[in-house]
């Protein structure tokens, strides 16, 4: 690979890494701060991606809209709709043990996938949506637009990070962690545990929607396979666990570390003989699965552990 090629490869890895960092921050709000298990990350991510795509693309007969609106509007709409979907799931499960939320979130992700595949009027079905604009698409073209996007994505990471950090240290975040670590005592001092959980889940889902929107603008086209449910959901979980759940910087670091490993092994395995290339992706999945088990058993606090004392789980 020539140096420019390598540079732009790195840029695209960093863009995707930034999108994962946003997802990871979102999951950190739900799991790291709120102790809520979300196994349907891919679903909320997909809602965001399709929402922003439909809002921002030029009018098309193949799917709903497009409404040709600015990308900022698309991203905000993505957050709104993903948040609403999250609220629907959370309202059902917040009063039950986390396992039920896990099952229901898998369910909602599956239903959202069905809608995306089947409702062609809305999403153009399995053919998907194309011609999704890039930010500053008129000013920059080609590889320059990659650089512009890189800036936008990491600016978003920064904004989301600041929001999450504010949330974490705010009275709201402290209450939330108290609930996570000892629900009974939090309830005893009169905190409305259910409403706190609901808010946490909705905020997390909205941020996941933003990540979905950015990925739509990154790839410029969308199809149901772009949100391969298990891979997206699973990678984000591994990233957060490895980075250090409860720590926002850990979430970003974990996302980047795992994504770099994931991408680097891709470079390596792409040089394998063709009959091994498809197999190598299974090997990578297998290894990531094992990595998660290792982290869970030996390394639960992650690269950057949460700083305040953590009662549960340790």
């Amino acid at each position: 690979m020539d140096p420019t090629g390598l540079f732009f490869y790195l840029v695209s890895v960093l863009i995707a890494g930034g999108i994962y960092a946003i997802l990871c921050l979102a999951l950190n709000v739900q799991w790291g701060m709120g102790g809520l298990f979300n196994a349907g990350i891919a679903g909320f991510f997909a809602v965001g991606a399709y929402t922003s795509a439909i809002v921002t693309t030029a009018e098309s007969s193949r799917h709903l809209g497009g409404f040709g609106m600015p990308i900022v509007v698309g991203v905000l709409a993505a957050a709104l709709l993903a948040g609403i979907a999250g609220a629907a799931v959370a309202r059902i499960c917040v009063r039950l043990k986390s396992d039920y939320l896990a099952m229901a979130s898998v369910g909602i992700a599956e239903i959202l996938r069905l809608i995306i595949v089947n409702e062609a009027w809305l999403t153009n079905g399995s053919l998907g949506i194309s011609g999704i604009p890039r930010p500053f698409g008129e000013t920059f073209t080609g590889r320059q637009s990659d650089l512009a996007l890189l800036g936008v994505v990491w600016l978003t990471v920064l904004i989301v990070y600041i929001i999450c950090q504010r949330l974490y240290v705010s009275p709201w975040g402290r209450t939330l962690r108290a609930i996570r670590d000892n629900e009974a005592s939090a309830q005893a001092v009169g905190k409305n545990v259910e409403s706190f959980r609901l808010q946490t889940f909705v905020i997390g889902c909205a941020i996941m929607g933003v990540a979905g929107a950015l990925s739509a603008h990154f790839y410029k086209s969308l199809s149901p396979s772009a949100t391969e449910p298990l891979l997206v959901t699973f990678l984000v979980w591994v990233m957060l666990m490895a980075g250090g759940s409860g720590n926002n910087r850990g979430a970003i670091l974990g996302a980047l570390t795992i994504w770099f490993i994931w991408s680097a092994t891709e470079i390596f395995t792409n040089r394998l003989p063709p009959e091994w290339i498809s197999r190598s992706s299974y090997i990578r999945m297998l290894l990531v699965g094992l990595l998660l088990q290792f982290v869970l058993q030996r390394y639960r606090s992650g690269l950057l552990p949460e700083k305040s004392p953590r009662l549960h789980g340790e």
Partner: protein
């Protein structure tokens, strides 16, 4: 009359078949939920593994897949015991949600392993057209469907006897009722857990073979069945294996009969939204009756 026959042949019987598959899978989920207290996300993939185990055996011994069921069951049991030993047991003293996360990873490990060994394409147990059995000149049921329904009934009866009469079965129910008291009574909890995996994996493998034989084997087979199986386990009441069997049958029949044109000529629910039926049932249960139909535990 004709409509009734069509309804039975094309909706009710397939519903009972898919319901049997859900039922066999949901038994394990319900028992694991009751005894180990976590939602086992890799249970669908345990089904997949059982199916592929039989598929591998067929390549060597080309007979009816049902005769080779022990191979699939053995493979599933070995995998279940191994992941419990190496991945779940080390987490047993932590909040169970960590085990849920771990099982989520195990699901991926199982699937990746299946894809690695058998590649990701569809494979069939037996090719060719199978002639259905015709009962009373009107009811048509394929041999496979009949076998699935009959075997599920037999398993349900055997399981009931096991749980109510045998020492191990009663110990399992005791641990599910109250693990601390079971420890005080001196029961061997680890042995109970081992049996939970053995039974759960054996039934999952059986369900996996039926599911694969009904359509075809592919690596996502089990994962795709996970949602209705969770719904069946909740419907039947967590920790109530017999309830899970009833729950599986109800969900299977509900899914199929919802696609019947009850009003007018169009299916009530488009077949592509079948899995939404299970999800809707799950949502209604979680809102109104999370302990399920048969007063199971609420975790």
């Amino acid at each position: 009359m004709n409509e009734l026959v069509t309804f039975i042949n094309l909706y009710l019987i397939p519903g009972l078949v898919i319901g049997s598959i859900y039922a066999l899978g949901a038994v394990g989920i319900s028992m694991i939920f009751g005894i180990l207290r976590f939602a086992h996300f890799a249970h669908g993939d345990l089904m997949t593994i059982g199916g592929y185990g039989v598929l591998a055996a067929i390549a060597l011994i080309p007979v009816n897949p049902l005769f080779l069921l022990p191979f699939g069951i053995a493979l599933s049991i070995v995998c279940a015991l191994a992941v419990d030993r190496f991945f779940y047991r080390p987490l047993r003293d932590l909040p169970t949600i960590y085990t849920v996360i771990s099982s989520f990873g195990v699901a991926l490990i199982f699937r990746a392993a299946v894809q690695l060994v058998w590649s990701s394409g569809n494979q069939v147990f037996q090719s060719g057209v199978r002639k259905p059995l015709v009962l009373f000149d009107t009811f048509r049921i394929s041999a496979l469907h009949a076998q699935a329904i009959v075997l599920t009934v037999v398993i349900a009866i055997a399981l009931h006897l096991f749980l109510t009469r045998s020492k191990t079965g009663r110990s399992m129910r005791a641990v599910s009722d109250d693990p601390e008291l079971a420890a005080i009574a001196g029961l061997d909890t680890e042995k109970v857990i081992r049996w939970t995996w053995i039974i759960g994996a054996a039934l999952a493998a059986t369900a996996g073979v039926f599911a694969g034989a009904d359509t075809s084997m592919h690596p996502n087979l089990g994962w795709n069945l996970l949602l209705p199986m969770f719904a069946a386990a909740i419907l039947g009441g967590i920790g109530k294996p017999m309830g899970a069997i009833a729950g599986g049958l109800i969900i299977g029949v509900a899914e199929e009969t919802m696609t019947y044109p009850w009003f007018g000529a169009e299916p009530l629910i488009s077949p592509s939204y079948k899995s939404a039926v299970a999800f809707s049932i799950m949502v209604v249960l979680l809102i109104f009756r999370p302990q399920g139909l048969f007063k199971g535990r609420l975790l």
